[in-house]
Symmetry: C2
Subunit: 250 residues, 2 copies
């Protein structure tokens, strides 16, 4: 029986990253794509409650169906699971994101939103991202590692409420696949204020630099990527701080 994979992303259904991912995984599985009808970068786990959602079949071929959806990345997974799938997918995949989702970026990422939501639905889930925001980024060097990681998760599954955040550095070759932890990091200088040319009113763009708060630590995802590895962080949906839980009282 061929595996059945649900794919979504946050760059939108026409982004090169998701279409490369479809091409890479199609030989190994039947594919259902339900992805946003435009960019939803930074969509996190946001859901849409104030307006209704719409979805449209764009493409139907042997072993492939592609839908666009008006909602967020998480909405796409919920709509797919509740309205479109004909059986429970074996895997949910987010990406390939145009941009790095390592370290704290994972919290803001709509690609990770897809992955979180897949895990929330009880399905093994993976997010793939490339540290290159260019719409012309070359995804071809990622193919082998994506097949390796995807096949392993399809074969072995994932613990309940866990998922994988996979980030690729730039480059044509990687030193290997390194399992690591999320780097303690922080964004700084996050706004750029501008003045509107005619109204004279202030507006603000989100910008910023990510600061690595533990640059010497070799077991982190930022370290792995800076040293040419594909960084795989196992992520849990249980965000309880068990250390603090031991001592906190009121």
């Amino acid at each position: 029986m061929r595996p059945y994979i649900l794919i979504s992303n946050d760059d939108g259904v026409s982004a090169r990253g998701i279409n490369f991912l479809i091409d890479v995984l199609r030989p190994y599985a039947d594919i259902l794509v339900v992805a946003p009808d435009g960019p939803r970068s930074g969509g996190s786990c946001a859901i849409t409650s104030t307006v209704p959602l719409r979805y449209t079949l764009l493409r139907k071929e042997e072993g492939l169906e592609v839908y666009s959806c008006s909602g967020t990345p998480v909405d796409c997974v919920k709509v797919a699971m509740n309205e479109i799938v004909k059986k429970v997918p074996n895997l949910v995949v987010g990406g390939i994101n145009h941009g790095d989702n390592s370290a704290v970026n994972a919290h803001y990422s709509g690609t990770m939103g897809v992955c979180y939501e897949g895990a929330m639905q009880g399905i093994p889930s993976i997010a793939y991202s490339l540290d290159n925001h260019s719409s012309e980024a070359d995804f071809t060097p990622l193919a082998d590692a994506i097949v390796t990681i995807t096949q392993k998760v399809l074969a072995e599954g994932m613990p309940e409420f866990s998922c994988l955040n996979v980030n690729f550095p730039q480059g044509r070759e990687f030193k290997g696949i390194k399992v690591c932890r999320m780097t303690k990091s922080r964004w700084t200088k996050e706004t750029k204020a501008c003045v509107h040319p005619t109204t004279g009113k202030l507006y603000v763009w989100l910008v910023g630099n990510r600061e690595n708060l533990e640059p010497e630590q070799t077991d982190t995802d930022i370290w792995a990527m800076e040293h040419g590895y594909v960084a795989v962080v196992p992520v849990t949906l249980d965000c309880t701080d068990y250390e603090l839980l031991k001592t906190l009282s009121f």
Copy 2:
């Protein structure tokens, strides 16, 4: 020196919950409010990258400034921290949310987005939510516990990258404040499909029921709320699955 507290939410600056919170905390601290100009429920940690953000001073009194912002809850914190604050706040507070943000709801919650973002900025942070979606919900029973929890965090701080998710059950009295872990849970039957009256086209609303996957466990936030306690879950920004990290390899 009076503490300085940054408050935001996801129900919007005019919601009753946030205005009750301002009234409760104002005797104890100088308050800066930067909150969305309308509802952003389900906003999670989403950030806005495709359009610029705007913010407007609505109210300025002794010890209180209130701004509305065109962005998401997390955008509000970023704009506040980078454009508005005159010193680093001692505390970031999200809420009071009109609706329950316990268990997996925390992942979708914009109120928790505020709290996560405060912790991301290195500031002790708390999210307060009431299990009542009504715009007429009575927040007065929450005041004492909010003062207790807020004062404790102001006095003792929080470990870096940790924050608190505080959820109140409905009712006039609580049995106490219970520190607990996030309940393993899942949303099911999450969509309601409708037909547009004139176009005949399908559209979908997000709905659903939350299923408690461990109803017998007494150390969870859902159990605490169902038994009349204020549920306090210590939350970490480090979403690494350390159990899986021990065994995962490629």
